[in-house]
C-alpha cells in the first residue's frame, strides 16, 4: 500500500511542479557602484519580464527601434541586421580597435561572443561579452523591428554568465545573469 501512496504523491508533486519548472529562475542583475556612498542594484527576475513583456512588446519594440542611433548618425534596424549578418559570416575576427586618449579597447567576434575588451594598461577596464545568440535573437525580427521576445528567450537560456563589466576610477558597472535572487551570491 505504502509504495502506491508514495508513487501517487510523486505524480501529484510532479504535476504541481510542472509549471514552476517551465518558468525561468534566472535573474538579470545590474550593479552600478560609485564611491562608498553611491550604489544602484537592480535585480530583475526574467520570469517577471516574460509575463509583462508580451503586453508591452509593441511599445517596447517601437521605443527600441526608434532609438537605434549610434553617435549622431541614425542606423535603422534593417541596416544593423545586414551589418551583423555580414560580420558574422566572416567568423572570428577583430572588428575595431579604438585608441582615443584614455580609452583603449578592441571590439571583436570570437564565434560565440561579440566582445569589447580594454587593452592591457588602459586606465578603464571594460569587458563586454554579448553572446551572438542574443544578438541573433534580437535582430531576428522583420523590417525595422527588434524581436524582443526572442531576445528574452535567448537570455533565459544563456545560463549564468557575466555580460558587462566596466571599471573606471571610482565607478564599477556590472551586468550579469544568474539564478540567484540577491547579488554577490
Amino acid at each position: 500500500m505504502k509504495p502506491r501512496i508514495s508513487l501517487l504523491a510523486l505524480i501529484v508533486i510532479g504535476l504541481i511542479s510542472l509549471p514552476v519548472a517551465g518558468a525561468s529562475k534566472q535573474w538579470l542583475h545590474v550593479q552600478v557602484h560609485g564611491d562608498s556612498d553611491e550604489k544602484v542594484n537592480v535585480n530583475i527576475p526574467l520570469s517577471l519580464v516574460s509575463t509583462i513583456l508580451p503586453l508591452i512588446e509593441d511599445k517596447a519594440e517601437e521605443g527600441l527601434s526608434r532609438h537605434g542611433h549610434w553617435d549622431d548618425s541614425d542606423m535603422s534596424v534593417s541596416q544593423m541586421r545586414e551589418i551583423w549578418n555580414a560580420v558574422k559570416s566572416e567568423g572570428a575576427f577583430e572588428l575595431a580597435s579604438v585608441n582615443s586618449g584614455e580609452h583603449r579597447f578592441s571590439i571583436f567576434l570570437d564565434g560565440q561572443y561579440l566582445r569589447v575588451e580594454s587593452d592591457e594598461g588602459a586606465k578603464e577596464r571594460v569587458t563586454v561579452k554579448l553572446p551572438t545568440v542574443l544578438v541573433d535573437a534580437l535582430l531576428s525580427g522583420e523590417g525595422e523591428n527588434f524581436n524582443i521576445m526572442a531576445a528574452l528567450d535567448a537570455l533565459q537560456n544563456l545560463g549564468n554568465q557575466e555580460l558587462v563589466l566596466v571599471e573606471a576610477d571610482d565607478t564599477r558597472v556590472r551586468v550579469w545573469i544568474d539564478e540567484f535572487n540577491a547579488p554577490g551570491r
Binding site: W27, K39, N41, L48, S50, N181
Partner: protein, 139 residues
C-alpha cells in the same frame, strides 16, 4: 432573561466579527508608514476593507474609474501575477549618500522603502490582496 438576551447579542456580534475576519483575511493587510518633518504616521490597512469600501463608491464614479483603469488593467494584473510567481528578493536598491530607496518582494508582499534625510515612506502591500482589490474595482 436580560442575561440571555445579552448572551445572544454577544454571540451575534462575535460570529459577525469572526465571519468578517474570515471574509477579509484572504486580502491581507497593507501597511503604510511615513514621516515628514515632525509628523509621522503608521497604519495597517486591511485590504478587505478597501475592497468592501469600493462597493460603496457610486456606480457612476466606479464606471469612470473602470474606464480609466481598463487600459492598464492587463499590465498591472500581469505585473502582480509575475511578482507573485517569482522568488523573494531585492528588486531595486539605490543608495545615494543619505538617501535610500528599496523595492523588494518578500513573503508574498511588495515592499517599498524610501528613506531620505528629510522624510520616510515605507509601504507594504500583499500582492494577492492587491489583485483581489483590483478585481473588485473592475467587477
Amino acid at each position: 432573561m436580560l442575561l440571555k438576551i445579552g448572551a445572544v447579542f454577544l454571540a451575534f456580534i462575535l460570529s459577525a466579527g469572526a465571519t468578517a475576519l474570515v471574509a477579509l483575511e484572504p486580502y491581507g493587510v497593507m501597511t503604510v508608514d511615513f514621516a515628514v518633518d515632525d509628523v509621522s504616521f503608521r497604519t495597517p490597512v486591511p485590504l478587505g476593507i478597501v475592497a468592501l469600501a469600493i462597493h460603496f463608491v457610486p456606480e457612476s464614479e466606479r464606471r469612470q474609474i473602470r474606464a480609466e483603469f481598463r487600459e492598464f488593467q492587463p499590465l498591472v494584473e500581469a505585473a502582480l501575477t509575475g511578482l507573485m510567481d517569482c522568488e523573494d528578493g531585492v528588486l531595486v536598491d539605490v543608495v545615494d549618500h543619505r538617501d535610500h530607496v528599496l523595492v523588494a518582494k518578500q513573503g508574498g508582499s511588495l515592499i517599498v522603502k524610501v528613506d531620505t534625510s528629510e522624510e520616510r515612506f515605507h509601504f507594504q502591500i500583499p500582492l494577492r490582496g492587491a489583485r483581489r482589490v483590483l478585481a473588485s474595482l473592475t467587477d
